[in-house]
Amino acid sequence: MPRVLSAAPTMDHLDQLEAQSIYILREAFARLKKLALLWSLGKDSNVMIWLARKAFFGRVPFPAMHVDTAKKFPEMYAFRDTYAQEWGLDLRVEPCPPIDAVDPTLPPAARSAARKTEGLKMALAKHGFDGLIAGIRRDEEATRAKERVFSPRGAEGNWDVRDQPPEFWDHFNASPPQGAHLRIHPILHWTEADIWAYTARENIPIIPLYLSKNGKRYRSLGDQDITFPVASNASNIAEILAELESTKVPERAGRALDHETEDAFERLRVAGYL
């Protein structure tokens, strides 16, 4: 019986983003020895886990690490515990040090966020990961825009923005120096709207805090004491997308640590923050 050969379906924008992210995840898995995926429980890292399950046919073949400040919203912890199980994740919850252990010269919210950097360093020392997969995006914030897909970190976890290796044609620098690690950014090229459109298309679960309640919703989720909701009536993803079409408020407007001083976020990132 002759086979009926129909041409391959054309790829839309989300298909292209997805294929590229899967390629990056597979490169990371092929080229690094000990990987972990940083799961912040937010919309971006949930998409990233979904992409990893696609890349590896349903199974995430490395641990999902939650560096826990112990100050997240209760809804976030509930989400973590439900889906770690449902998605079959190898969940590693790692604590952060007390606030006293963090650079006192940082402004309050940045200092609080820097706890997470310290927690991350402790987790790295404990597990010896040579690659951390992180769900940052270029469109979130100015210093993230300058990131590479495979981004080398120094032995202290620090980022040297002035000496980044060239990266082109999907060839990645995957040899971190001894004792250092790489950050891998599989969704660097996505936008906030892409994340929501994909979440809707793939029916990926989300934390309800993202949806409007009493005229407010969270656009970005962090620690309870330094994250604030924005005014919004968007109560489903379609409405979020419509809102993004016209908003002039940046995504991280509700994240206090971005706004304390002009360079607070850059200082955090140079020190190893996400």
């Binding site: 129909s6 054309t10 298909d15 020895k33 100015a142 709207a193 079409e245 940046p250």
Partner: protein, 638 residues
Amino acid sequence: MNMRVPAAAPATPNGTTRPQVSIVIVGHVDHGKSTLVGRLLHETGSLPDGKLEMLQAVSARRGMPFEWSFLLDALQTERDQGITIDTTQIRFRTNAREVVLIDAPGHAEFLRNMITGASQADGAVLIIDALEGVRDQTRRHGYLLHLLGVKQVAVVVNKMDRVDFSEDRFDAIRTEISAHLQGLGVKPVAVIPISARDGDGVAALTSRIGWYDGPTVVEALDGLEPAKPLSSLPLRLPVQAIYKFDDRRIVAGRVEAGELRSGDEIVIMPAGKIAKIKTVEGWPQTPVTTAQGAGRSVGITLDRELFIERGDVIAHVGREPQAARRLHARIFWLHDQPLAKGDSILVRLGTREARGSVVAIEKAVDPGSLSNEENASIARNHVGEIEIALTQPVAVDPYTENARTGRLVIEVQGRIAGGGLVLSIAAGKRAAPVDIMPVESALQPQERADRYRHKGAVVWMTGLPGAGKSTLARALERRLFSRGGAPVLLDGDTVRAGLNKDLGFTPEDRAENIRRLAEVATHLARNGHIAIVAAVSPAREDRAAARRVAGDLFREIYVATAAEICESRDPKGHYAKARAGNLQNFTGIGTDYEPPLDAELVIDTATRGIADATDELESLLSKTGVLFDDIADLGANI
């Protein structure tokens, strides 16, 4: 950071009818890039209401003339108040396109950032100052656009107001830059006279450039096409990995060209092995029944258990890429250390990683000045044509046949140092497709690891005759066996007595000797054994070839005992015979032993006792994940 003014991202990425194109604006520093960006944002209605008037008022109040580049600065500092912008990525819309503007710094020292940015672009705008004309960075960027494969280039001749909108001046620059680009095979989509400051030629043609009847900048952007996947070319699926998470053996990769579907007859290059695609796997739905075209990340299963590895390329029978060991390439070089003839390099072609060396350098030039230089090396930020000899065959297409599988990058010390296009492939013999069906072991690697408490490995001991390789190898064999492991000793002389008895000591025979040793050792290692090879293996290239065969399984041990001590030991009497002239091609008294540069471990048996040295070997195997310290650790790396 993206600028979100007004609504940069479409409500749904599918909901817009405008195709998205990524562009870079490149050219010499100070030729007006920021001014053009500011003007484009204004002309395309991408600025927030009142922003421009406000900046003009501020400028007037301070008594300084308004500059369009202020817009970028202002937007940057005000990113927290709702306008978020960074020169790294700005989005705006023209009538027909959603444009993503990628940053590409003009300063020469940021060339690696320019390349990183420009490599992602569908099209480029090359900006030239009408007064200054074509400068070195203009030419350099033009050359790099060509090497990066950016074919759609619009040239704008800016600051026409500074040359009184002279058509003659414009024509002179147009002629010069067109000739330069066409020499590289790039035909500019337009050469446009503009004044970014005043707006002439950006969104509208004005009477001041009444002699010009081509497109405006915005019209030129409207004409740019997003990169199209290479669906109409022959299938190329570079293999990223083989996954055995369950009972499926999934070959994963991204379709770089063509398309595939289950039932296809395929050939795995460069080995030329033939198979059939059994299924196309997916998640959450599997199997996938539709054809998968260029650009898709896929997973397939085959109808037979062939040995296949990362770096192989899957193609359709009769339309496969060539298997080649020699390539001619045009490259750009970014490393501080110039690339010289004879250099050892690591070449990446798709997912293949191959060691090789530069056998010739031709046409090394500074693409800025275009002056020819001495051809012995290619300096940083320069370009040239090189001949590469690889130590293993790779599947490759010339760039002209497939732009994606015909390009390579070169790595030095684990860092990307250059890249370029494969111009031609030395007429090597094409591997004839062979229809063989190797059978894989019934056992999973984990089953063996559970029993032996180690993974498979190739422990390769190299060193002069008499250095102590065999002694050490035997001690390690005993040690591993005592802890319940499954070591196998492969002594060079022993293997030469049987499997390799047809081989002598010419360089070719030595290479073949090492290849067979490596193949046997690797087979044992893949089946859970620790193969301990004790062989002089004097040639660095032969050992590199062995490392490639064994891949991650390989641990090179340099038994670095001093030559005088080796000769004084002379356990087999070889040194004495060689001194007496009775042994040809003996490694030891000559200078033909090439010590390893990157051995995992170096042991001098003159200063280390056997037990000590064996401890050190054991600890290397523990540290590199071969030996398991306790059973609980077994799960950690699965």
